[in-house]
Symmetry: none
């Protein structure tokens, strides 16, 4: 693996950014593949670099350390998912409350599409690293923003949610899905599972609507 020949003048026009972006993409793709194939145990920087077809040195040119790769991968996948969730919240397909909730749940369940092993591994890693908080931050912000937005739209019937309520609502839902992923439950992608998740969310929202009071009793 000698340094890439740089045809004297040829590739000059291609912005460095592009090549760099490709390299990063290759590394993340390799990371996902390795995670999918061998789980966290097989996820070593050397392995990722090799699979990506770059040298270990190059990998470190773009990522400060091993964990950064993981985080970047998680972020990338999350972004995709968040776009979907946003669309769902805005009721672009089914504007009813249940319709939106269902679309949202579906978006989350199908995140990391086709790579349950990798998803599991990333989840584990994020949790194990204790970086869950960092990663959750954008999600929380998103939810908050979305919540505000929702409050103005057709879902305005909902009272503003307290900090604890937003937390419970989101974490309970995600927690159930995450558990299904980690435990590799066969019904993960089944309709009945989705139904129950939706039922949970809707029931909780309704309960809050009926009696929002308690939520103000923040300790």
């Amino acid at each position: 693996m000698t340094a890439r020949r740089q045809p004297p003048e040829a590739k000059r026009r291609i912005p460095r950014q592009t090549r760099a972006a490709e390299t990063v993409a290759a590394i993340l793709e390799a990371a996902a593949q390795i995670l999918e194939a061998g789980g966290l145990a097989a996820f070593t920087t050397n392995a990722v670099a090799e699979r990506a077809g770059v040298s270990i040195g190059t990998l470190y040119q773009y990522f400060t350390d091993k964990n950064a790769v993981l985080l970047a991968l998680a972020r990338q996948e999350m972004e995709v998912a968040l776009v979907e969730v946003g669309r769902a919240l805005r009721g672009e397909s089914d504007p009813s409350i249940e319709g939106r909730v269902r679309a949202m749940v579906g978006a989350v369940i199908n995140a990391f599409r086709g790579r349950q092993r990798a998803r599991k591994a990333v989840v584990q890693a994020i949790l194990a690293r204790g970086s869950g908080i960092e990663l959750m931050a954008p999600v929380a912000a998103f939810i908050a923003a979305a919540g505000a937005e929702v409050g103005r739209g057709p879902l305005a019937v909902l009272p503003a949610l307290s900090r604890e309520q937003v937390f419970v609502m989101s974490r309970a839902t995600l927690g159930a899905i995450r558990a299904a992923v980690l435990e590799e439950q066969p019904f993960l992608r089944s309709r009945s599972f989705e139904d129950e998740i939706v039922r949970l969310a809707v029931a909780y929202l309704r309960a809050i609507t009926v009696d929002p009071g308690r939520s103000r009793t923040t300790a």
Copy 2:
């Protein structure tokens, strides 16, 4: 050299004597302390043995490997928690549905009492190891058994829960609590947080009662 032993069937010593029992206890206590103080990163067999005041060899006399220590610790704590949960389910303090749910939630929130860091570390470790399933098994069994029992008692109004419903119910609740632990949310032990968890659980149970919708169970 040192060819690997052939059958890994070799069991570890089972403490029969007083001294041995004390040693095991010391090791688990040391493990909890180290986890509490330095998290998973500080959790090395050498560190645990040293803190426990025994030699590394002794540790391996009682635990097959590093992970076994973690599992033992998790199991020990879980047993305590399960006893509490059982008591709650049986409605020993407040027999109303909400009373039971609340007692149960409280038991879980207060598990590993006084050692949130250790608890977090154990949770992370169990998840990272993918042994979550194994450890969840007894919990699941417990919940199932409890569910059956509940169905015969004063809570008989509840229809039998489908596999997905039991799963969603337990994982959503535990998921929210777990997230609060991992994210070190300040409101973890607050009344308002407990209120919301309870609200979630009760709302879900009521929704199921209204429409069991089990037709899709085996979807």
Copy 3:
């Protein structure tokens, strides 16, 4: 933790560059020196790496494990010896039967020239590992091939040897030499010892010539 890698198929780096080749050579040289100086007991990967002036990590970059170093050393020395033995068999110096046998014996006795301790250690290690068979394979193949060749040349007076005869012939000779090495007999390099080995081999060959007695070969 650190779960074991899944497939142990991972090969070690194959030295392609000059520096790498030098490193490997340095490691093998260090291995021989350590073996020569302290025997098998002193032969630890750490010691070898240190003596070779490389880090332990580098050693593992080229050898899967400790034993691989030993095997590589054995192979390297054997190759040299086999070349000599081949030359002897072809009667390049003295074409008479006795001349060839004598040259062959001499080649074996002088293998690992100047490093009897290292030779002893390698022999012990190979035996202890039970890898003797593997290493013997090429030797056996060599002997077989040589035997065939001999049968066509001026030694054609010899009848084809049975499996047992080839075995007894080679192992008895090597066994006596090996014993002298292991027991550190003072007469190992003496003329009289060589004489006796030759006498043994020639006497046996003559006896076979007189009475091939192969009827029992497949007994």
Copy 4:
């Protein structure tokens, strides 16, 4: 592997009582079994003690160290073999030279009867430990004594053997047999293999008888 105790208090407990003798026997038997079943790798003092049904402490009451157990086992088996060889040499069954040689070879081949794996392991261990010399001493002595005896009996036709000749004669023969054991050759117990060993020994003896001269040229 501590330094050997000196005469004064002797080594370890010398079994004077029946129970002690039984214990020692049990330990040696356990050692043989473990060796037979799992080879050298499984041969740990703890394993031997457990199999023998005694505590590790008791084992050390009778043997200075691990190696002592191995040596004792080897000695025990050798004694049995030597008795047989002695009988053979005295021509108790077939007084002809070939008859005696054959009986002797048979005795060696059948040593450690029924436990080829254990035998192999012991051989490997003895070799690896470099204790071969110690163990060979009694054999050498035996051979010398036997040689002298033979010289006076009906085998008196044989000239006195030189040091090298005795060595080559014994080691070549034993070497071939040992190789067959270590390589687990299927023909180990076959008649044709025995035939060839005998042929080798007899041919060598005859050659010496014809021209003993060279043997005096000891370097």
